[in-house]
Point group: C2
Chain length 351, copies 2
DNA sequence: TCCCTCTACTAAACCGGTTTAGGTGGAGTC
DNA sequence: GACTCCACCTAAACCGGTTTAGTAGAGGGA
């Protein structure tokens, strides 16, 4: 029993294939009972239109693309994508769309990927993640005429809509939480300044501090990796006047930073409070468990997919409002030390 | 300037579209110079055959699928997939194939996914990951006639080839490393007994111990999650005669276990040695850095993709030999305590 | 010269849908 | 009774490739 085609259904229902097509795309021009009869016949035969054939005749790929441009090493411990993709998928599958995934080693290769996806007509639209400030991709995609949705903090980008959870409330919540605990010297280990979500979290930290009237603590530029997070932490702890709290731009750096502090015998949260961002599974299971910011990444993926499909179909944007991220308080943040303890770097390492 | 079609190329080269097709699929029946002329013309026009149209006429999807059936939560911190996908992609793209990704919440939904992918003809083959002992998927895929490659430890599976790095040497290396350090009571925190890679790592641990003549230490079944890894660790440490070393089936559980030990004031590796599996980025940046087993996941992905394409094209299997995993020794493993210290659970917690 | 074979190529069918132009029958109108 | 109009449906073209059947022309052998 080979797979049925539209012809089988047409024959079985005693109509032309055109009629079957009309019925399945519920387009006008069929009497209600003919339509029902066709659908019933199709159901009986277990027939659904072939995306391959549809793709060719509607001149659409019926797929969207996600190009992840990170060296796999950096990508490895990233908790974002799996959840995001789950959300994207749940939306796409309802509309007969599929998700094409590419992982390319470097940023440059990404352009190549987009060009190919577009040129070969493999996809009808793409997601753009990890946006850089002054990123050339939106312009490239505009030039290619490939609809795109930018995944990340909203950006006054002329080309494409951005769908993202605003970082600011989450970071602000972390800062306010720390301020409420009496901290007054709150540092930030930031993502790369060239990346939009690195920058936006940094700015959120800065404005949150200003709002509370506190001076900005030290801020170290980092790159979201554990390695760099550890280095930044060492740098902060080596300061003559080290911070009593550090807000990290992601969990990975925070966990690495936590290890650095612990290895120096610095009690967390007794002498140093730490917060992460992303709320990874592991964050809850390090010692001490990590205070972090949790956002609904699945919902985010769903919203981004919905927007992209709208864009492809040239429908107006429906308003999606993503819930703001929430702060999950765990044991890595606590009251600020009452009086400054001995210089942190002189603490006895316990390794 | 809209995209060119095969007709444009045919006209420009002064041949029929059939000739262009022959040239591009380098099939016999064209004189060398005609072939060259056609290819040159196509190059000039920037034309490449449309996968959409090819897919329809060759009755192939020119895509393969990967269904990941884990709740996004569990998936979040898994370092395996990104690297694996990177490897898969690098192979697929060379053959004009694309990767379709689906993330479904539960194991059951996976069957549904495969059925749909197959029924709609979206893919020509699929990867099967996270295989269960007695997994129904290979049989399902055989029934659907959808070529598949099982990603994971080889299995005497009648249906489909398996491509995987053998767990045994890596786990054995970890065990031998610990034995060499003088440990004689080596526990294992295992993956689920129902999962093939959970079981295979467990067996590797068991046989490695037997080979050295040591008795099996305690073994706790777990589920690869941080939560369960922590619980298993607590259970082990609560034993009347706790192990001096624990071999974990993955890094996530090992890191969580490390946190449990630390929180109880147990010195790692002074009183307890710990090894992970997978060598995640974070493993090198916890305190103490984690000894782990590292395998070439990208190469693995490449090999799996190559095998799947061979299967789809009904070509014989070329032999792929993946390098065995290697043990990366870091500070979480050290010499066994000389004489049994005070009962571990009575150590003073340092939180 | 005729026939045969082989090479190089073309025309047309085909994959399985969508879409468009057109056709038929019945109701409504004068 | 002829004319228009509309609702419903069909036939055929089309998407852009691949594949098959068939043809023209060159070369070889009797």
């Amino acid at each position: 029993m080979t797979r049925h085609t539209i012809n089988d259904v047409a024959r079985a229902a005693g109509v032309s294939k055109g009629a079957v097509s009309l019925a399945f795309n519920n387009r006008p021009g069929l009497s209600p009972d003919t339509r029902e009869r066709i659908l019933a016949t199709a159901r009986e035969l277990g027939w659904t239109p072939s995306p391959r054939a549809r793709a060719l005749s509607v001149s659409r790929a019926l797929a969207v693309g996600l190009v992840v441009a990170r060296p796999p090493e950096t990508l490895r411990s990233d908790p974002f994508f799996p959840s995001f993709i789950a959300g994207v998928e749940s939306e796409l599958s309802q509309h007969g769309y599929a998700l094409l995934l590419q992982v390319v080693p470097e940023h440059d290769a990404e352009h190549q990927s987009y060009r190919r996806l577009s040129h070969e007509g493999r996809v009808d639209g793409v997601f753009v993640t990890d946006l850089y400030v002054d990123d050339a991709r939106p312009a490239l995609l505009a030039e290619l005429g490939l609809p795109a949705v930018i995944v990340g903090p909203a950006l006054s980008e002329p080309f494409w809509p951005a769908v993202g959870v605003d970082d600011a409330p989450g970071i602000a919540a972390a800062v306010e939480h720390l301020v409420g605990l009496g901290h007054s010297r709150i540092a930030h280990v930031a993502g790369p300044r060239e990346m939009v979500h690195g920058r936006s979290r940094r700015e959120a930290w800065s404005t949150a501090l200003h709002r509370t009237g506190l001076p900005e603590g030290p801020c170290i530029d980092s790159d979201f990796s554990a390695e760099a997070g550890a280095a930044a932490t060492r740098e902060l702890l080596d300061l003559a006047d080290p911070p009593t709290a550090i807000v990290y731009a992601n969990d990975l750096m925070a966990i690495a930073g936590l290890a650095v502090a612990t290895s120096r015998g610095i009690d967390v949260p007794g002498r140093l409070s730490i917060t992460g961002y992303e709320d990874t599974e592991l964050g809850a299971h390090v010692q001490p468990p990590l205070t972090s910011v949790c956002s609904d990444v699945i919902g985010w993926g769903r919203a981004a997919a919905r927007r992209l499909l709208e864009l492809i179909d040239q429908r107006p944007a429906t308003d999606v409002s993503l819930p703001p991220p929430t702060l999950v308080v765990r044991a890595s943040s606590g009251p600020a030390p009452v009086h400054r303890a001995t210089h942190p770097t002189t603490g006895t390492p316990d390794t």
